[in-house]
């Protein structure tokens, strides 16, 4: 567990909690990134622009942090391309089918005491762990 970073994890998590709090308090929206992303193209026209702006904010947040603290997060290199492509596809498909991702179900849904979101979160954590076990320890596709 030498890479365990509980303090930056808690602090970063608190910022995410503040973000979803402000979005709900002012705009009445749930800060679930998969739903926000999907709506950029698939929501009614009048309901699209704020989503695009939120996503632009995400990119800006990543950019600003990187400028302030270079080398804090170094982009990964040489990861198998098909795991990214297929993985991304399954993420898009699965989050639409279940109506949320780590932020929508895992944070907002659980904060709202939704049993559906709790079950969804436990489910995707379980299949994620099984998948990583297979990829890293059975097939040894990636370190």
């Amino acid at each position: 567990m030498e890479n365990f970073t509980p303090f930056s994890a808690m602090a970063g998590g608190a910022l995410i909690g503040i973000s979803v709090t402000l979005l709900l308090l002012f705009n009445g929206r749930i800060g679930g990134v998969s739903g926000i992303m999907n709506g950029v193209f698939f929501a009614p026209k009048s309901d699209r622009i704020w989503r695009l702006i939120f996503l632009t904010g995400l990119v800006l947040g990543g950019f600003i942090f990187q400028r302030l603290v270079p080398d804090f997060n170094v982009p990964r290199q040489n990861y198998p391309l098909f795991l990214l492509g297929l993985g991304g596809f399954l993420i898009g498909f699965g989050t639409r089918m279940s109506g949320g991702c780590t932020s929508g179900h895992g944070i907002c849904g659980i904060a709202n005491l939704s049993i559906r979101s709790l079950i969804a979160t436990l489910t995707f954590m379980a299949t994620g762990m099984i998948t990583v076990f297979i990829i890293r320890h059975s097939l040894e596709l990636a370190a």
């Binding site: 890479n3 970073t5 509980p6 308090l25 009445g28 804090f72 109506g99 990583v132």
Partner: protein, 138 residues
């Protein structure tokens, strides 16, 4: 206009939170999912940090008749468990475990000019499109 400013601010705070917590580092996420390997429980602390805020704030906010800049809250009222919830979450988890990304970090990584993020975002939209076009029964 006011709602768009809030959306921008929330996006920026969220992106900084994902960066500070290292959740935009896909190997950090894979190390969390790798319970039989060199396990890194940091992701649970990210969720605890977020829930410590949101658990109380949501309870307080939802007592209001309406949000400050909008007419109503857009919140799912569904409560029953169904096959699509479980199957969809299972499929998402497989993609998460294959890549180390979930949607937030995939988008945020674009700010670091990460090539992986570009691939992830395009692939995620292909998944959205496929589900919406061919599988959504609503």
């Amino acid at each position: 206009m006011k709602q768009n400013l809030i959306a921008l601010l929330c996006g920026i705070i969220f992106g900084i939170g994902l960066s500070l917590s290292h959740m935009i580092n896909p190997n950090k996420v894979l190390n969390f999912l790798d319970i039989t390997g060199n396990w890194d429980p940091s992701l649970i602390f990210v969720m605890m940090g977020a829930l410590a805020v949101a658990f109380f704030s949501f309870k307080w906010i939802l007592k209001r008749p309406a949000p400050i800049f909008a007419e109503s809250f857009h919140i799912s009222r569904k409560s029953s468990l169904d096959k699509s919830l479980l199957l969809g979450a299972a499929i998402f988890g497989i993609g998460w475990g294959m890549s180390g990304y979930c949607p937030g970090p995939a988008v945020t990584g674009l700010g670091l000019l990460s090539m992986e993020s570009v691939i992830m975002v395009v692939a995620i939209y292909l998944g959205f499109f496929t589900y919406n076009r061919f599988f959504d029964e609503k």
